[in-house]
C-alpha cells in the first residue's frame, strides 16, 4: 500500500546532516548512503523537516504555476493567511487586483466557507452525541497524525470536508450555474503548507478532490509582490468591492479560531505538534474528562506559522487580527461580509460536506498477524538491551528503539550500530575495513577525511 506525501527530499541537495531525522515527530526519516529518506507510511506532512533543513533540500510537490492559464475560468483559492504575508501598507484589494493582473479570472478566499464548515461540523456533532470529543478535520496533518499514531481516536474526527473543499465546490457550482462548462474551470488552491497539498492530492475519506492544481503560497507571494514593485507606487489598482471576509472567517485559521465560535461547552485549542501529541496521549488514556470539542493544529500559531508563510508567524497573525478588527467594525455598521453570498448554496454544501469516516492506519503495528507481531516485539526488547540507548543516530535511525524495530522488520542490520561494530572489531569478528564500509553505507563515502593537525 502506498501513501501520498507532499514533502520530498532532493538527493542532490541533501547533505545527510540528519537534523530532519532527529526532529521528525513520527520518526519517519532514516539516513542511508549519506542521504535522508522519508518512510511514506509514517510521514504526516507536518513539515518539521522542511523547517530545519540547512540545505533547502526538502521541497513541497506543487503543480506548474503556469498551468492555470490553460483555463479561461481559472480560480485562485487563497488561504486567509495569504493576506497576512504582505506589509501593512499593502491592502487586501491591491492583492486581489494584482492576482487579476497576473491572469487569474477569479479570486476567492477559502475561509469564505469557514462558517458553513462550522455549521456542518456542529450538525454532525449534534447528530452523533456519543462521539465526544469531536475533533476538527481542519488541519490535515493532524488528521494523518491521528490515523497513524492514535488509531482509537479516528472515530472522533468529524468526517466533514475542510473549508477549502467547500469553497472549491461553491466556486464550481457558481460558475457552472452561469453556464461555464466544467472543462473551462480550473480550481487552483494556494497552499500554505505540505499537509494541505496531500489533502488535495490524496484526500482522506474521499476518492478525489475537485481541485485541479496546487500552487505553493511562497511562490505566489513572490509573483504578486514582484508585480506590485514593478507597478510602482503610483499604480492605479482596479477597485474591488467583493473581497470582504467576516471577522470570524478571517480568524478561523488562527489558533482558537474555531474554538471561539464553537458552541460546544468545554473545548480546547491546541497548536504545535508536540503539544497536540502530549494532549492526545492523555485523551487516549481517558485522563481528560468532559471535553466536547478539540481544535488541533500542527503548526505553532496555526496557519500563521505555516511552512510556506513568508514572514514571522506573529507578524502575520497580527496583520490578520488587524484585518479582522476592521471587518468586525464594518459588520457592526451593518455591512454584509462576502461569506454571506455563499449562503444560497449553504444547504447544498452542508449536504455534500460529509466524507467517509476516517480510518486508522497505524504506523506502530509490527505485523498484521498478532503472533508474528509478538515475536518481533520480543526480539526488539531483547535487542534493545544490547544497544547503548543513547540515541546517537549514527546507525541512521533516530533512536535505539527505532533502530531495533528496523532491524527486526528487516529494514536495517545490526552492524549499522557503531557500538556493536566496535564490540565485533574488539573481538576480532570484524575488520576495520568492514567497519568502515558499514559506516559508508549509512553516511556515504566522503565523510571520513584524512588526519587532522591541530
Amino acid at each position: 500500500m502506498t501513501f501520498y506525501h507532499a514533502l520530498q527530499i532532493e538527493d542532490d541537495r541533501c547533505i545527510g546532516c540528519s537534523r530532519c531525522m532527529k526532529i521528525c515527530p513520527t520518526e519517519a526519516i532514516r539516513i542511508s548512503g549519506g542521504k535522508a529518506a522519508i518512510q511514506e507510511h509514517r510521514c504526516i506532512d507536518c513539515g518539521k523537516c522542511y523547517e530545519v533543513c540547512p540545505a533547502q533540500s526538502i521541497s513541497i510537490k506543487d503543480d506548474d504555476f503556469e498551468m492555470f492559464r490553460k483555463y479561461p475560468h481559472s480560480v485562485a483559492l487563497l488561504p486567509a493567511v495569504f493576506m497576512g504575508q504582505f506589509p501593512d501598507e499593502v491592502s487586501v484589494s491591491q492583492v486581489y487586483a494584482t492576482l487579476y493582473e497576473l491572469g487569474f479570472a477569479h479570486v476567492m478566499e477559502v475561509e469564505s466557507a469557514a462558517l458553513i464548515y462550522k455549521e456542518a461540523k456542529e450538525k454532525y456533532a449534534h447528530e452523533h452525541p456519543d462521539v465526544r470529543p469531536f475533533i476538527s478535520s481542519f488541519c490535515p496533518a493532524i488528521v494523518r497524525l491521528i490515523q497513524i499514531k492514535y488509531p482509537s481516536l479516528t472515530e472522533n474526527i468529524v468526517p466533514i470536508k475542510a473549508p477549502l473543499d467547500l469553497s472549491a465546490m461553491y466556486a464550481l457550482e457558481e460558475l457552472q450555474s452561469r453556464g461555464v462548462p466544467r472543462e473551462e474551470i480550473g480550481l487552483f488552491y494556494v497552499t500554505p503548507c505540505a499537509a494541505k497539498v496531500s489533502a488535495v492530492k490524496a484526500p482522506v475519506g474521499e476518492e478525489k478532490s475537485v481541485i485541479d492544481g496546487v500552487i505553493n503560497m511562497n511562490l505566489l507571494f513572490n509573483r504578486v509582490y514582484k508585480r506590485m514593485k514593478e507597478n510602482g507606487k503610483n499604480h492605479q489598482y482596479k477597485p474591488l468591492t467583493r473581497q470582504r471576509l467576516s471577522a470570524d472567517a478571517i480568524l478561523s485559521t488562527l489558533t482558537n479560531g474555531e474554538r471561539r465560535i464553537c458552541t460546544a461547552k468545554r473545548s480546547y485549542a491546541i497548536d504545535g505538534i508536540e503539544n497536540v501529541m502530549d494532549f492526545l496521549d492523555k485523551l487516549e488514556n481517558d485522563e481528560v474528562e468532559g471535553v466536547e470539542f478539540l481544535e488541533l493544529r500542527a503548526c505553532d500559531q496555526s496557519c500563521a506559522g505555516a511552512l510556506l508563510s513568508c514572514d514571522n508567524r506573529f507578524l502575520c497573525g497580527e496583520r490578520m487580527y488587524s484585518r479582522a478588527r476592521k471587518a468586525a467594525e464594518r459588520e457592526r455598521n451593518g455591512e454584509m461580509a462576502r461569506d454571506r453570498e455563499m449562503d444560497k448554496y449553504k444547504d447544498y454544501l452542508i449536504e455534500h460536506s460529509l466524507v467517509d469516516e476516517v480510518q486508522p492506519r497505524s504506523m506502530l503495528v509490527l505485523d498484521e498477524d498478532r503472533v508474528k507481531a509478538f515475536e518481533k516485539m520480543e526480539k526488539i526488547e531483547k535487542m534493545k538491551t544490547h544497544l547503548p540507548q543513547i540515541d546517537c543516530g549514527v546507525c541512521g535511525a533516530p533512536t535505539c528503539e527505532a533502530f531495533a524495530t528496523d532491524v527486526v522488520c528487516g529494514k536495517a542490520y545490526m552492524e549499522q550500530c557503531v557500538f556493536y561494530r566496535l564490540h565485533l572489531e574488539a573481538k576480532g569478528k570484524m575488520t576495520l575495513h568492514e567497519g568502515r564500509s558499514n559506516m559508508y553505507s549509512v553516511w556515504g563515502d566522503d565523510r571520513i577525511s584524512g588526519e587532522i593537525e591541530v
Binding site: 482509537s152 479516528t154 497505524s362
Partner: protein, 137 residues
C-alpha cells in the same frame, strides 16, 4: 513479555506511566484500538488507586499473543469490605485527593467494567492486590 513499574505514594504527577507504556506495546501488537482503550483505562485507574490510597506499590504486566494480565500490588491500609468498595460512588479518598479530581468512588467499578477478569484480594493493614485480565479477541 514481562514489564514492571513502580508506583510511588502521592506521586500523581507520574500517574499513567505504566498505562502509557502498555498502550504503546499493544498498539505495536495490532490489538484492536477499542480493546487497547479498555486496558489503558483500567490500568490507569489502578495506578491512581495505588498512588492515592496506598504507600506505593508495583505494577506487573504480562503480555502474550492473545491476552494481557496486569497485577497492581500495593502496600497500604487494605480494603476492609471489598464488596462495598466495588459499589459506584463509594470512596474513602482523603479530601486533598478529591480536590485533585481523583477519588470519586468510580475506581474499582470502572476497572471491573473494562476488563474480562478481575480479582481483588486485600488484607487490612498490609495491602491490596488487584489482578486483571483482558483478552485481545
Amino acid at each position: 513479555m514481562h514489564q514492571e513499574y513502580t508506583v510511588v505514594e502521592g506521586d500523581f504527577v507520574n500517574a499513567g506511566k505504566a498505562s502509557s507504556s502498555v498502550k504503546k506495546t499493544l498498539k505495536q501488537l495490532n490489538v484492536n484500538p477499542q480493546v487497547v482503550k479498555r486496558v489503558v483505562v483500567a490500568l490507569y485507574e489502578a495506578e491512581v488507586n495505588a498512588i492515592a490510597h496506598a504507600y506505593g506499590g508495583k505494577v506487573l504486566v504480562d503480555i502474550d499473543a492473545d491476552k494481557i494480565r496486569m497485577v497492581v500490588a500495593d502496600k497500604g491500609p487494605g480494603i476492609p469490605d471489598i464488596a462495598l468498595a466495588m459499589q459506584e460512588g463509594y470512596s474513602t479518598a482523603r479530601p486533598e485527593v478529591r480536590d485533585m479530581g481523583f477519588g470519586a468512588g468510580m475506581g474499582l467499578p470502572n476497572m471491573q467494567k473494562n476488563v474480562d477478569k478481575m480479582n481483588v484480594t486485600s488484607e487490612v493493614g498490609v495491602g491490596t492486590t488487584v489482578e486483571m485480565e483482558v483478552n485481545f479477541q
